[in-house]
């Protein structure tokens, strides 16, 4: 009897560490806690002892032993003093513990992120992340007691039932706006055309408008809609954080534009840039065209080809070559034996960008004027020669007035193109050097600054307002220029 009693005592002592190890007795899972997540709650039969580790294992099949499973996470029972205790939502994943009083507290974290709960905890509630959505998984918890013994809980199945929280909202207002503005512009165009037909007495061809329908549609989609969209955007607070849910804010963006530090400076430089370039393009283009048109010139084709090269090379390549030439280590300094850094100097950079654009623009003007020169009647010059008119007088009183019909639209187009010339400044200086903390750079023109406002600052509404201002400037200029020069009459 004593022997039986002793064996029983001995067995009890041997089993004591095992029975003292916290064993997971209850395991519950919730598959609806979030995308790619499942909730897991377990409780132990006795309060957890310091040094115990709970490992969470997951598998595609029932977990009988951990060899067929993957370790997901672990929770250590230990001293929590001096450890972080991030609140719910602050850590990468959420895990809480309970000491049996129905209060759930966030677990503590070691520096490497390991979850730690204090001794005495009997319940743990974790959100398991990284679970494939919609797939059934099996979860088990392995309790490892301080002496190294371990007990694997029975496994439960679960699956993350929450779908991707990202809801792709199809924002309908831009489409409605697009369709509306296209339809409106088609309607207005047709109305105007119909009215013009009526005024002119063209009433026999009913299908005429149908024939030009593709052109009207293309014009509406490619021209009127973007313009109307830009105008609408300029009255909204659209920016990086408001795109898609922007609202109308009246004229605020236009006030921002006008009150921008450097508004007058950038507008002024844009005008200087445009006028100097157009004058130089026309002047040099005319000079070269007259020279090329001279009957005494030999090798005209060779000259013409050489002079066309700046236009034939893609502008971004030639601009980058020019930039290289003006760099401190570039050919200009090598040639002059100087140490100039023109692109870093506000005035130097302005001169350089203008010079490069003049170089780029001359060939087009030269070719256009050359074509117009060749169309001038030769007998007019023969008569002048017979009358003994000097070369300068022939140019002043014959060539120039007869070229007006070509020069006026050319200069107008040249002005508009140069006003909106983006490549040269963007590639040469990117608008810099920038000495204004909240405004445009020293060589920025309106169009390059709009790019910065839109795509660097992300202020789409303000950028659209800048674009509307540019558009209005060009409309006013073009209208005035045509009125003053009688350009349309000259062409027709």
């Amino acid at each position: 009897m004593n022997r039986v009693f002793l064996i029983a005592i001995f067995s009890f002592l041997l089993l004591l560490p095992i029975s003292h190890a916290s064993e997971v007795t209850s395991l519950e899972s919730d598959g609806d806690v979030g995308y790619r997540q499942v909730g897991l709650m377990w409780s132990t039969d006795i309060p957890s002892e310091e040094g115990t580790i709970f490992e969470v294992w997951i598998s595609n099949e029932t977990i009988i032993e951990i060899s067929n499973a993957t370790k997901h996470s672990l929770v250590r029972v230990g001293n929590v003093s001096n450890l972080l205790q991030p609140g719910i939502g602050e850590w990468y994943d959420d895990c809480q513990y309970s000491i049996g009083d129905e209060n759930w507290n966030p677990v503590y974290r070691e520096l490497d992120g390991t979850a730690v709960i204090p001794p005495g905890a009997i319940g743990v509630n974790c959100t398991l992340s990284g679970i494939s959505s919609g797939l059934e998984i099996h979860i088990a918890v392995l309790s490892i007691n301080p002496s190294g013994g371990s007990i694997l809980s029975s496994s439960i199945s679960s699956s993350s039932t929450s779908s991707d929280e990202e809801i792709i909202v199809i924002e309908t207002s831009p489409y409605i706006f697009a369709i509306g503005s296209i339809a409106l512009s088609i309607f207005i165009l047709l109305f105007v055309l119909r009215w013009m037909d009526y005024r002119e007495g063209r009433t026999t061809s009913r299908f005429a408008h149908l024939y030009i329908a593709p052109a009207i549609l293309a014009l509406s989609v490619l021209t009127f809609y973007p313009v109307l969209y830009g105008i609408w955007l300029s009255f909204t607070n659209a920016d990086q954080s408001h795109l898609g849910d922007q609202s109308i804010i009246g004229f605020d963006n236009f006030i921002t534009v006008i009150s921008t530090s450097g508004f007058l400076r950038v507008t002024g430089f844009t005008l200087v840039w445009s006028v100097v370039n157009v004058v130089a393009h026309i002047g040099f283009g005319l000079l070269l065209a007259i020279a090329l048109n001279s009957n005494d010139l030999r090798g005209r084709s060779a000259y013409r080809t050489a002079l066309l090269l700046p236009w034939a090379i893609p502008s971004y390549i030639s601009v980058l070559v020019w930039r290289g030439l003006y760099e401190p280590t570039g050919a200009l300094n090598d040639f002059l034996g100087t140490d100039l850094n023109l692109l870093a100097d506000p005035n130097g950079a302005k001169i350089v960008v203008i010079l490069v654009n003049i170089w780029l623009g001359i060939p087009f003007m030269m070719m256009s004027i050359s074509g117009a020169l060749q169309a001038l009647p030769k007998d007019m010059y023969e008569a002048a020669e017979v009358d003994g008119i000097s070369n300068f007088s022939r140019f002043r009183y014959l060539t120039l007035p007869n070229l007006k019909s070509a020069l006026v639209p050319l200069s107008l187009l040249g002005f508009i193109w140069t006003f909106n010339m983006f490549n040269v400044i963007y590639l040469m200086t990117d608008g810099g050097p920038n000495l204004d903390f909240d405004g445009p750079g020293s060589t920025d023109i309106l169009i390059t600054y709009v790019y910065d406002v839109a795509f660097r600052d992300g202020a789409y509404g303000v950028a659209a307002a800048w674009s509307v201002v540019i558009f209005l400037m060009l409309v006013v200029f073009s209208w005035t220029y045509m009125k003053k020069t009688n350009a349309t009459e000259a062409v027709t």
Binding site: A115, S129, G130, E166, G244, P328, P433, N434
Partner: protein, 423 residues
């Protein structure tokens, strides 16, 4: 009558033509449903070893996952944040994109239709997967709590030098006890003929940040408020600009590219550059050594370059977020990082690689790792992504003599503060 009927049929057929096309397209999509297509934007330099390594890893991923087709596109590193934002706002974001932690602050702030642009990856990674990464690197990819990327590399600037030019001038190599005065003296001695002693882009804010920290300045205070206008900041700005303007040991107008070219043509003895160019210099057969950046004589602090972490982020608009995350995890895995480190001297972010003999016994990698430990991690905040512009403007003003450094930095601080407040 016949003409009218013919014309009507023609118009109807024209109108129906796009519909026929649309029908074909939808059939095509249905046929391809079994293949998952992922679009990845990377920012490795064209024709670089990094790009070649990356492409080989993508090929391996596709070979292991035949149902996945990965289409890759290159974007410029400095424009990656802007290009991604513009694409995402147009609904054309790639599934996976390589971004730096100082770019995440800018993107993390942006919303389209109330939705962020990048997926919070916290729900996608298991704690065991997370635990493989250096907590500092992982934390750097978090913006306002969200995990916006998986760290794949980290880097910072260090001192690179050409030992042949040092030997020729009889100057001792830099070591960990070097001070800025030592560097200045050595650079002056080494500057001779068409050889410069030192090259760095003196007006580039990224290069300045390390000097600023060494002189006792900081970009932001502990609350994240801009703190550019300190004595340390202005002293460091003056010091770095004087390298070109006063001491003339840095060539006029040196920028990143010209620094690289000068070093490749053995026209400069020392440069301050990152590990990303090491492979290029090595391929150019330039004698090359590395040392940690010197100590600032007055403050006793070492120059502490900005440490940035680059990682793979998943777009919120991706229709295959699980696969995108798998790919991001693969590209950030220890195996891939190790190959990148050995092939391209990219510094790893997984803990096991820090002690890996292939890394720790590699003199270049261990040198850069030592420098990383001396660096200052870039904060992942909106302020960090916005700091470059006002600091760049401050540099331009001081360089051209329009303002002194204290005035310029005060204005830069006000400008940054104002932008953060949304004015």
């Amino acid at each position: 009558m016949i003409r009218r009927i013919f014309f009507s049929l023609l118009v109807i057929s024209i109108l129906l033509f796009p519909g026929c096309l649309a029908s074909n397209q939808s059939l095509e999509v249905e046929d391809n449903e079994s293949t998952i297509e992922l679009v990845v934007w990377h920012s490795f330099a064209a024709e670089s070893k990094e790009q070649a390594t990356f492409e080989s890893k993508i090929d391996q991923f596709m070979a292991s996952n035949p149902s996945v087709e990965v289409k890759i596109s290159a974007i410029p590193y400095t424009e990656a944040d802007n290009q991604f934002m513009v694409a995402a706002q147009g609904g054309e974001a790639p599934d996976v994109v390589r971004l730096s932690n100082d770019q995440l602050g800018k993107i993390g702030h942006v919303r389209v239709g109330g939705q962020p642009l990048l997926e919070d990856l916290r729900a996608h990674l298991t704690p065991i997967e997370r635990s493989k990464f250096d907590p500092r690197a992982l934390n750097a990819m978090r913006y306002e709590g969200d995990l916006l990327g998986i760290p794949a590399s980290q880097d910072c600037l260090s001192l690179l030098f050409n030992p042949v030019l040092f030997d020729a001038a009889g100057v001792d190599y830099p070591d960990e006890n070097w001070t800025l005065d030592d560097m200045l003296l050595a650079a002056s001695t080494l500057t001779s003929g068409d050889v410069s002693g030192l090259a760095l882009p003196v007006k580039d804010p990224y290069w300045w940040f390390g000097f600023q920290a060494g002189f006792g300045g900081s970009l932001f205070d502990q609350n994240g408020t801009p703190s550019l206008n300190s004595n340390g900041s202005s002293d460091s700005m003056d010091w770095i600009l004087d390298l070109e303007l006063e001491h003339e040991i840095v060539q006029t107008g040196t920028n990143k590219e010209s620094m690289k070219n000068q070093f490749l043509s053995s026209k400069v003895a020392m440069i301050i550059d990152g590990p990303w160019n090491w492979a290029t210099y090595e391929a150019g057969r330039i004698p090359l050594k590395q040392s940690v950046l010197p100590i600032v004589t007055d403050s006793g602090e070492r120059i502490s370059p900005l440490v940035t972490f680059k990682g793979w982020s998943v777009s919120k608009q991706s229709l295959n977020k699980e696969w995108s995350t798998k790919l991001a995890l693969y590209l950030s895995s220890s195996d891939v990082q190790k190959e990148f480190a050995i092939e391209t001297y990219t510094m790893p972010t997984t803990i096991d690689l820090y002690d890996n003999p292939d890394i720790s016994e590699n003199i270049v990698l261990s040198g850069f790792l030592e420098q990383l430990m001396e660096g200052t991690p870039a904060p992942t905040t909106r302020g960090m992504s916005l700091v470059y512009a006002p600091v760049g403007t401050a540099f331009e003003n001081v360089y051209t003599g329009a303002l002194n450094s204290s005035e310029a930095l005060l204005l830069a601080n006000e400008s940054l503060q104002s932008e953060l407040e949304g004015n």
